[in-house]
Symmetry: C2
Subunit: 245 residues, 2 copies
C-alpha cells in the first residue's frame, strides 16, 4: 500500500504561536485519496533536525510532504535541511530566479537580494507547474516541499494531489456496549487471521446515547476481505454489539 | 532551557478517525509552564516505530510525554514500544495489578485476564500518584506515559504538570507593513547578535486591517535581553513598523 509521511517545520507550531491546520488538512486529503499516512514529525527551524527527519521518513515511505520554512528570512531553512538529508548542496534554480525577477518587475517592487533565496532549492530538485500556481511546487526526489501558509499549502497540494491517488479505503464500524476487556481476545484473533485488515478499538469515557462504550473499526483496501473479517468478528461478539455501519 | 518532546501513538490519528486534541493541549500547557516543546512524533500502533521514536527523543530531551496505546486490546502496544526503547522487558506491576483487581471487585465486573494487561509496564517504571487519580501515572525514566482519551490525558497531566515548571517565556511582537525581503538582513543580524532570543517571522497572504504583512516574534527567558533585541531591531526597521506589543 502506498504510504506517505509529513514533516512539519516551524518553531511557531511547537511554541503554539500558530495553530497547525496543514496537518489535519493533509490527513483528510490523503485519506480521501486512499493513501496511508504512516508518520508525522514536527521539528524546529534547525537544519540538522529537518535533515534527520526528512532522511528518516523519505527512506521508508513512497512520498513525503513538508510544510513550512520556505520563505526568505533567517528562520526559513527547509531547503538547506532537505538538501542535507540528500547530501547535496543548495543551488539557485535559474527558472525560479527568472520567475521571481519577473514577478518583482511586474509588480514594480524593488527586489531585495534576499528575496532570491526563494529560488534556492536542493541540487537535483524538479519543478512541478500547475494551472493555478504562480510558483511551481518544488520536488526533491520523493519529497514535495510545501509552504506553511495554509492557503498556499492547500493550493499547491491541489495541484499535485491526483498523482497520489490509490484504491480507496473500505471502513466498517462496529459499536459494542461492553468495555474492551471481554472483546480483546476475539479482536486479537481476527487481527491475526486477517492481516490485510487494520483493526482499531476506541473506548469512550462514558457510554454513548445508544449505549456503546467501544467503537471498533475494520479497514482495508479489499471490500470482500473487510466484510469477511466483520462477519467473523460478529459471529463471536454478537451479544455485545449495539450496531454496525 | 528545559526541553520536552511528545510522541503521539495511534493509527486513528494518522487515518483521521480521531482528531488529536492532546497535542494542542500539551503545546499550550508546556508553553504556560515555560517548557520548550522541541519536537513531536506521530507514529502508528507498531512496537518498532514507537521504540524508535521514544528512544530518539528521550535521549535528547529532559522529558517526554506519550499519548495513546495503553488500553487492553491488541492495538495497545505503547508499553511494549517504550520497554523496547529502553531495552527492558514488560513486566506486570504488582501494585497496578492489585489496584485493577480491587477496582473490578468493587464494581462487581468480572475481570477478564486481558484487563490485567493494564498492569503491564516497562521494567523499572515508577508510579506517580495524584489526589484526583484513580490510576497512577506511569513514568519510565524521563518518559511520562499518558492515555489517548483526552479527559484522562488532561487529568493525568494535571497531576504531574508542576514538576516541569520553568522560568516563563517573554514574548514580544513587532508588526511590519513591508513583506519579508527588506527586513530579512536586519533580522538575521539581530538573530546572530542575540543567540538567547528566538526570532520568528510570519508573513500573511494579505495585509491585515492595520496594514501589517509580517509578524515578527522575539522570545526568550531573560526579559532584559529580549527587550535589548527588540530595541536594536527597532533602530533598524522603524520605518516599516506598524505597531509592537
Amino acid at each position: 500500500m502506498a504510504s506517505s509521511a509529513l514533516v512539519v517545520i516551524g518553531n511557531e507550531i511547537l511554541s503554539g504561536k500558530i495553530i497547525d491546520t496543514n496537518t489535519p488538512f493533509l490527513i483528510s486529503e490523503l485519506r480521501s485519496l486512499g493513501v496511508q499516512l504512516a508518520e508525522i514529525a514536527v521539528v524546529p527551524d534547525e537544519v540538522p533536525r529537518i535533515a534527520e527527519a526528512v532522511s528518516r521518513v523519505a527512506a521508508r515511505n513512497q512520498s513525503v510532504f513538508t510544510s513550512g520554512g520556505v520563505g526568505p528570512t533567517h528562520d526559513d531553512v527547509t531547503m538547506e535541511g532537505i538538501a542535507a538529508a540528500f547530501s547535496v548542496p543548495v543551488i539557485r534554480h535559474p527558472r525560479l530566479e527568472a520567475l521571481l525577477r519577473g514577478y518583482y518587475e511586474q509588480q514594480s517592487i524593488p527586489l531585495a537580494e534576499r528575496n532570491l533565496r526563494m529560488a534556492d532549492v536542493p541540487q537535483g530538485a524538479e519543478l512541478i507547474d500547475g494551472p493555478d500556481l504562480r510558483w511551481p511546487v518544488v520536488q526533491m526526489q520523493n519529497v514535495f516541499i510545501l509552504p506553511g501558509i495554509p492557503e498556499i499549502f492547500r493550493r499547491k497540494f491541489a495541484a499535485i494531489r491526483e498523482r497520489f491517488r490509490d484504491a480507496p479505503f473500505v471502513l466498517r464500524k462496529v459499536y459494542v456496549r461492553c468495555e474492551e476487556g471481554p472483546i480483546g481476545d476475539p479482536l486479537e484473533d481476527i487481527a491475526r487471521r486477517f492481516p490485510q485488515v487494520a483493526i482499531g478499538s476506541y473506548p469512550r469515557m462514558q457510554p454513548a446515547e445508544d449505549g456503546h462504550r467501544v467503537l471498533l473499526t475494520l479497514e482495508g483496501k479489499d471490500a470482500q476481505v473487510v466484510q469477511a473479517a466483520v462477519d467473523e468478528l460478529l459471529k463471536i461478539i454478537a451479544p455485545h454489539v449495539v450496531t454496525t455501519s
